[in-house]
Symmetry: C2
Subunit: 319 residues, 2 copies
């Protein structure tokens, strides 16, 4: 347990992930309520919305309304997601309120590239070159490389750790062309293929290749392994995690209707806090927000902890 | 990872746990169907029913009908649960078909004893003395001590590992009075308080005290930690686990309506098989049975893997 970090950073993606996938409609007012409630929990990084094609993602057709309306809490970085020039332009209109930064976003699975992004890895690299140039031209920093399907892929099967290293190397190559410094390597278990030993192997190989870069984990609970995988990440010293309150979201990929989404923020917080790893999050407040999220979407969310309740309340009652 | 076992033994409790808590009514025919389907998955130990007061647990009022009806598969140990003389008598009527064995069942939490069993630890020990005498008189072996609330308690809060050791010592004292050999110590996270480090501490202390006795884990997923806890158990070399298909069951304890039940068998199997720990279970068949269980109870079960699907099918499709 020597590598357990003293604290972790949580990047809350509940609003963005959740409302992009819920059949809805969900009112802008409810989206604002959720963002503001999350802001009261101690979370320091909240992905508030997605600037995407509203025909493809009707749940975020009101991104502008939501971003304009929510009351930002000082000290919290509110971010947004976009995939193209148009999305970036929409985000730039809120550059005073949102914390904008770009990602070189790749996939370790060539089959996933073709099925999900409709282009080859080489074509995707070229797209990332163009996007990076655009980000930099607009004064948006690019400090992160994201690798989707880093632990396995529904379309390609198992992904060798070497494939992840190669993908990251290609991304770092793009970054080098622009002379930018990448500080974070984000590894995404986009389709829930990770298990603890797989997490350890991939992180081990990535860290051997780039010992100075921070690794972050984006875990999905598609097959119930997310908390165990976060535990493996913690013991490998990983200090940065994406998660969604209540497990909001879900897997938009083919063949997995009804599958769970991201790791639940509250289960990640419980895991950490019970081990003395600080998160800065008030778990009981967060669980309240999770219940609010459940009421907003109108159906049970996959988080078990939402329904089981925090230990603290039982500890107090027992004292 | 040096302590990872080569294989584990799974004790499937889905039928017993599930049908005792479901609001039902669920037909005897469906219960039989589930037991027989589980028998086709490679599981070697299945708890088929509960011989309990039918006013308290109407879901098992038909225990006799179900046990009489299911087709037993050779090589599988079918077990049952009972709490008193009357239950034992009912079970004894099926001693040719069921594998009957007794447990010295204790709780590490005095508050849980009083709230759940309505007696003190001392009174419970006395009850276990009487029950053990009865078991032995009827030719039912007693080889196991079970400790409920071994990792924490909704009524008492945290439970020190030393309390678990003391509880086991008391149970072993009862066994010694009868000159019987206890081979298995079962530690139950009855209310979902365990986290991986807590699992390690408790197992460490129990194993130090009794290095030769097999430890088994009965994990609940009340707060989403069950798979991570099983992982911790595996790395501590624990080779025996209780679980329920689909996560059937739920927590019958106060204040936790809607909380998840036991660790899902299929998620336990996936965790193990992906790490090379043999379970003897055909995961894809088991997931099919989980879906059958979901159809029988008529609502979604908490297992994520049921909805995410086994990796094997995706591997085949990708190959």
């Amino acid at each position: 347990m020597s590598d357990l970090p003293a604290s972790i950073h949580i990047h809350e993606e509940g609003p963005r992930e959740g409302f992009q996938i819920e059949p809805g409609p969900i009112s802008s007012v409810d989206k604002v309520r959720l963002i503001e409630a999350l802001s009261e929990t101690g979370l320091k990084s909240i992905q508030a919305c997605s600037f995407v094609n509203q025909r493809l993602v009707p749940g975020w057709a009101d991104a502008e309304d939501v971003v304009a309306a929510f009351r930002a809490t000082p000290g919290i970085a509110y971010s947004a997601l976009w995939f193209n020039d148009k999305g970036l332009e929409r985000a730039l209109a809120f550059r005073d309120k949102l914390s904008l930064s770009g990602t070189i976003s790749l996939s370790a699975s060539e089959a996933f590239n073709r099925k999900n992004l409709h282009r080859s890895h080489a074509e995707n690299l070229e797209a990332m070159r163009k996007q990076t140039a655009l980000h930099l031209a607009k004064g948006v920093p690019v400090k992160r490389i994201g690798v989707m399907a880093a632990f396995g892929c529904n379309f390609q099967g198992d992904i060798a750790p070497a494939e992840v290293v190669r993908t990251l190397r290609d991304g770092l190559g793009v970054a080098a062309e622009f002379d930018i410094e990448i500080s974070r390597l984000s590894l995404a278990d986009s389709m829930g293929w990770a298990t603890p030993p797989r997490i350890e192997r991939v992180i081990g190989e990535v860290r051997s290749a780039w010992p100075d870069k921070e690794i972050s984990l984006h875990l999905h609970d598609t097959r119930g392994m997310a908390v165990a995988n976060a535990m493996a990440g913690l013991r490998m010293g990983v200090r940065s995690y994406d998660s969604t309150v209540g497990g909001l979201g879900g897997c938009p990929f083919a063949g997995q209707k009804g599958a769970a989404g991201n790791i639940c923020t509250e289960e990640l917080v419980m895991l950490c806090e019970e081990m003395g790893v600080a998160t800065g999050v008030d778990l009981e407040k967060l669980i309240e927000v999770g219940r609010m999220a459940e009421a907003i979407v109108g159906h049970p969310l996959p988080s078990e902890l939402l329904h089981g309740g925090a230990l603290a309340a039982f500890r107090r009652a027992a004292a």
